[in-house]
């Protein structure tokens, strides 16, 4: 909205929260800034719908804030394929977030463009890190490949699941388990949560990955949260899963380039009428810079 001041970046860097928010909008709409380079600390949080990801993040936020960290959350929700609109309601579960100066929550819609959001995620993370946000959390529903690619932009990944879901199979199918550094079984105040944790542990053992830790937590009553936070804090940013993440990032950059190709619609039309083959189409959209 309105005119974007030329000094938006400078203003955001000096701590102007509103201009940081406006900067994120510009980035989301495809704009670019010359953001000074710095290291960032990122955590991706994913898991099936309804397991309590947002509520759990709300708990983590409070504890981080108590430790003097400044926490930014990018909460990603899907856009409606029909209208293009989106209902973004993750932040309503992070009740402590709205009144704390050291917490910044931004809701993002996927805009039905799997590569689209991903291509602006890196500059958003850079912007937040440059503005002094020391803990950056990216939250998505772990329901498909597009979501996995979003969390792959984080340096460490927390997979959240709950009891009585049977959904860990879904997570395995989607490949999220292979990317996760830490697994949290939320709702430990409910029955069968121990059983869920055991089944995840045994699934991990079968996979031969002993470095992934499984934590039983309750975002509802707060139990296990400190232990989980400590595990997240001590989780190294680089690991065996780094390669998988880099691969996902490459694939999403590739997607993004493909979807932005000027001849994409013509190629799809030609494919539809059968005038070219799939292999020929791949040749046309090629992989060259232009």
């Amino acid at each position: 909205m309105g005119v974007i001041p030329a000094n938006l970046l400078d203003s955001a860097l000096t701590g102007n929260r509103r201009d940081l928010a406006r900067m994120l909008t510009v980035i989301e709409n495809g704009g670019a800034f010359d953001i000074p380079e710095q290291s960032s600390w990122t955590l991706g949080v994913t898991g099936p719908p309804g397991v309590g990801k947002s509520t759990l993040i709300g708990r983590l936020i409070s504890n981080w804030a108590d430790r003097g960290e400044r926490i930014a959350v990018l909460a990603v929700d899907p856009s409606s394929p029909r209208s293009g609109g989106a209902l973004l309601a993750d932040r309503m579960r992070m009740s402590t977030a709205d009144s704390n100066d050291s917490v910044f929550v931004r809701s993002l819609a996927t805009r039905n463009h799997p590569g689209g959001l991903v291509s602006c995620l890196s500059p958003m993370i850079d912007a937040l890190a440059a503005c002094g946000w020391s803990r950056i959390v990216i939250e998505t529903v772990g329901a498909g490949q597009a979501e996995i690619r979003v969390v792959a932009f984080a340096d460490r990944i927390l997979l959240v699941d709950g009891p009585d879901r049977g959904d860990i199979v879904q997570a395995e199918k989607a490949g999220i388990m292979e990317l996760a550094d830490i697994v949290a079984i939320n709702k430990s105040d409910l029955p069968n949560s121990q059983q869920a944790a055991d089944s995840v542990r045994s699934a991990l053992e079968v996979g031969g990955d002993s470095s992934v830790t499984v934590h039983l937590v309750s975002a509802h009553d707060g139990s296990g949260i400190i232990e989980l936070l400590d595990a997240i804090e001590s989780c190294p940013a680089s690991g065996a899963r780094d390669r998988l993440r880099v691969r996902e990032r490459l694939l999403s950059a590739w997607d993004s380039r493909l979807l932005a190709h000027p001849q994409l619609n013509e190629v799809i039309d030609a494919l539809e009428t059968g005038s070219i083959t799939l292999d020929e189409a791949v040749e046309i959209v090629g992989l060259s810079e232009d």
Binding site: M1, G2, R17, R18, A21, R22, L24, T25, S79, S80, R82, S83, G84, G85, A86, L87, L88, A89, R91, M92, R93, S95, D98, S99, F104, V105, R106, S107, A109
Partner: protein, 141 residues
């Protein structure tokens, strides 16, 4: 879309949020019982273009002006503010003067709210004032 104050009735806000989504808007819903300060903070962080306030508690004449004032204080002058719920017609004039551009009561069709937002968008594109801190006599009626 926000629910200010001590008011647990969120059916209306949820219906409107859903209707706006179906109309192609990206809608952030705050959840219940937000203070004016929290709502201003959310509008700022989300860089929202418009703010819908749903209130059925009778405290609209205190909460809504406080939110409009907070938005202006933080320099969020271009945000388009509208309200809905149970707001007696006798209170409309002073809320409009405070910068609330539309007030929707029970029975409003959701398409009318989409029409209002479209009208506001066209005014913004035309450079006409419509934000909460912009001097404008414009209101949706």
């Amino acid at each position: 879309m926000a629910k200010p104050g001590l008011d647990g009735h969120d059916r209306g806000a949820k219906v409107i949020a859903r209707a706006l989504r179906d109309g192609g808007h990206e809608v952030v819903y705050t959840g219940l019982r937000k203070t004016p300060e929290e709502i201003v903070r959310i509008v700022m962080d989300e860089d929202a273009a418009a703010l819908g306030l749903s209130t059925l508690s009778g405290a609209h004449d205190v909460l809504l002006p406080a939110i409009c004032e907070g938005l202006r204080r933080e320099g969020l002058t271009e945000v388009v503010v509208f309200a809905g719920g149970i707001i007696p017609s006798g209170d409309h004039e002073s809320l409009h003067e405070d910068g609330v551009r539309a007030i929707f009561g029970p029975g409003t069709r959701t398409t009318e709210i989409l029409d209002f937002l479209e009208a506001a968008r066209q005014r913004i594109e035309g450079g006409e004032p419509v934000g909460v801190g912009e001097n404008s006599g414009w209101r949706w009626e």
